[in-house]
Homo-oligomer: 489 residues x 2
Amino acid sequence: MSHQAMNGFGGKVLTLENMNPNVRKVEYAVRGAIVQRAEQIEKELKEGVKKPFTEVIKANIGDAHAMGQKPITFFRQVLALCAYPDLLDDNKFPEDAKQRARRILGACGGHSIGAYSASQGIECIRQDVSRYIEKRDGGIPSNPDNIYLSTGASDAIVTMLKLLVCGEGPDRTGVMISIPQYPLYSAALADLAAVQISYYLDEDRCWGLDVAELKRALSAARTHCNPRVICIINPGNPTGQVQSRKCIEDVIRFAKEEHLFLMADEVYQDNVYAEGCKFHSFKKVLFEMGPEFSSTVEMASFHSTSKCYMGECGFRGGYMEVINMDPEVKAQLTKLVSVRLCPPVTGQALLELVVNPPQPDEPSYSTFMKERTEVLAALAEKAGLTEKTFNTVPGIICNPVQGAMYTFPRITLPQRAIDTAKEEGLAPDMLYCMRLLEEEGICLVPGSGFGQREGTYHFRMTILPPTEKLKVVLQKIRDFHVRFTKQFS
Amino acid sequence: MSHQAMNGFGGKVLTLENMNPNVRKVEYAVRGAIVQRAEQIEKELKEGVKKPFTEVIKANIGDAHAMGQKPITFFRQVLALCAYPDLLDDNKFPEDAKQRARRILGACGGHSIGAYSASQGIECIRQDVSRYIEKRDGGIPSNPDNIYLSTGASDAIVTMLKLLVCGEGPDRTGVMISIPQYPLYSAALADLAAVQISYYLDEDRCWGLDVAELKRALSAARTHCNPRVICIINPGNPTGQVQSRKCIEDVIRFAKEEHLFLMADEVYQDNVYAEGCKFHSFKKVLFEMGPEFSSTVEMASFHSTSKCYMGECGFRGGYMEVINMDPEVKAQLTKLVSVRLCPPVTGQALLELVVNPPQPDEPSYSTFMKERTEVLAALAEKAGLTEKTFNTVPGIICNPVQGAMYTFPRITLPQRAIDTAKEEGLAPDMLYCMRLLEEEGICLVPGSGFGQREGTYHFRMTILPPTEKLKVVLQKIRDFHVRFTKQFS
């Protein structure tokens, strides 16, 4: 390119060279190169190209409905009533669904879900979110003023990180995230030019979190940034662990001692399967630790309509609760979210139903409970099946899927595969996943997209496919793994 | 605060002093202090506090349904069918609505709007958007690969600006925006720490845009930043002008000569009322100017489901079309939007209906056309009424509302009012609007929230209230203005 072109005149105004360099650094493996290739293959299949398989199974993303999970009837009835209120006269809809729809519409401008809501979210929904949290946490109070509805949890997480980032050079804000992590975090940090501080989960102890490791990571980071935030995902994504109460206490104590803002990503709070495991909210533990903690530790907790038993990803609903946030900062947060006007009102409506589901004395209760229980029971079964099957394959080691929707097994790769990947400019587990996609039509995400200890290799797979299909998937991965290992040995 | 507290230990982790300084600089007047006060007054009214009025009329924001505008029946029927597909068996719904719902559901993962879509948006909807643009622009081709669905237009505008910002100090990206402007732009630029380059619209020529003024602003800016972008809002917000074809050509020529990326905010493209005015899309004009322009000028155009005749703000639907964008940059854009997974699928579904409405041979056509025509005719009537009424008030001068949904009249304020405002630390037009709110219950946005020439004062009011209510609003503002002027003279 000529000098003149480099300066812009003559060439494009906007090029890879002169675009926002932070955006260039953003990576998001869950929808990265492998998914693009998967979509290409789907097109090729449609066009009649012959492949060793007839469909691509996208186990790369926690997208329940795409995997055949049915929506909760009650939720969709209310949403249809909200969209087209003429149906409120239709006696096919149960009374409790109509009552919820009327409540939601009554809180909308002009009684329409087509009106903007308050930027923080519809007030009566924020009240119901607070009541839901109080019930979940055994009565610990929640203030609707501290609830911000959001466009999925991602939106709230990015907004919260944005508030927290400041400083230049060695004063730049550092943010502690687990490795492996959900790549929204690393992507947001790259975008904000914040410093990522990686702390490693302990694979040998079921992806446990150890405070000594937090201390190591923090003290290493203090030399080049200003650590201000710790992010925790519980239940874990991609690693599926469920944190013990003790561990949560340790993290809270660490956050207080080290003066860190605590971000608790709790979007999988209903997805706990393993015996002896239980979801403990960070907020509940914080308050049970006494006023020394509950009145000082600054925290935000995130939830979403996309996961749990409902899996309504497309609606982009979610909320965050902020605790002990400086009122002046809260005013800034409210201002910041107002620039985007409001979260999607249909997502807010759905969230209202999640936090205010049918009650035992209401007509939709039994169907709702049946549907909810079936989804969670199936997930629990699939969590067990996945762990058991993978652990029968030589060269695959799989921790229990205690919660969430993913397994993150460790795979042993032959040295020749690692060398081949290097030659092709790929991460070794990317080579593995690409081959799996081409040969079996199964789309996974390589562990390198989430981070992993140097020299170890993994992939993330959702456990969402229906049981019979999941069995096929597991069998295919098993066969592939044996074949791949043989091929490169 | 002690030194120790200043350093964080002892005080809050996150304070006004140590939060992201860019976020602090963000301002968004459309939902600023005056709206917060309006909401407080609404609460007071509910609690029985006596006021000189019985309701607050929020004319601060273009929120059609909140002002009583009814949704388009066909759109809501299809959305209800998508939300609750059991209704597809219901013979109360017309066949064309069912056919659209089936098409949308067929394009969703697992046939559910609860699945994530592709990050760029559902493919068949992007195809329909392209066909819609082609039809609008008399056959000029549109490529679905260049269409990105978004969470309202705001989302796409911010994303596009984010791609474009780079450099430090005098190399920092400068972005030209009109004054008055829609404050999403200034807010996004503050957030991105980009340099705002203000060019003034000519109030005396019906808020016209003059290339000499663009040149003045650009050359003044080159001393302290790197101007790379020009943003145009047409039809104008808050100023309601509709640009002539000639003016659009001038802007395109200017963008090419000065090597600027062109961002065309065309969300009010169906909202044109004044005789002799017509909406010309930037893309159409660009292509009609010949290959010298159509193959070089980089551009993005934005549209939304929130405005026009549908006014479905709550669904957060929208799209952008990018033209002549470097393919490597486009790949970066696709990557960037993937981090947020996807725009709300209900908003995408609504957009599908906007770009693919009932056709003459379909059962819903006549109702659809009737509803659409009624909304646009009422808006045209209210645009005329507003201009006429304001221009009868001494001290208010009002340009014709040629398009969009707002009037931005100039108000003459007595010197004593200006002095009083200064004493109270308020912008003079904020004082005016606050008094109007307290005395008459009408919520407007002061001109200072949009920018205006030094020493001039304005407010923005939407023309959306129903005609009879709008008449009352105009009368109340008239009375207030006379009273305010007398009081401060």
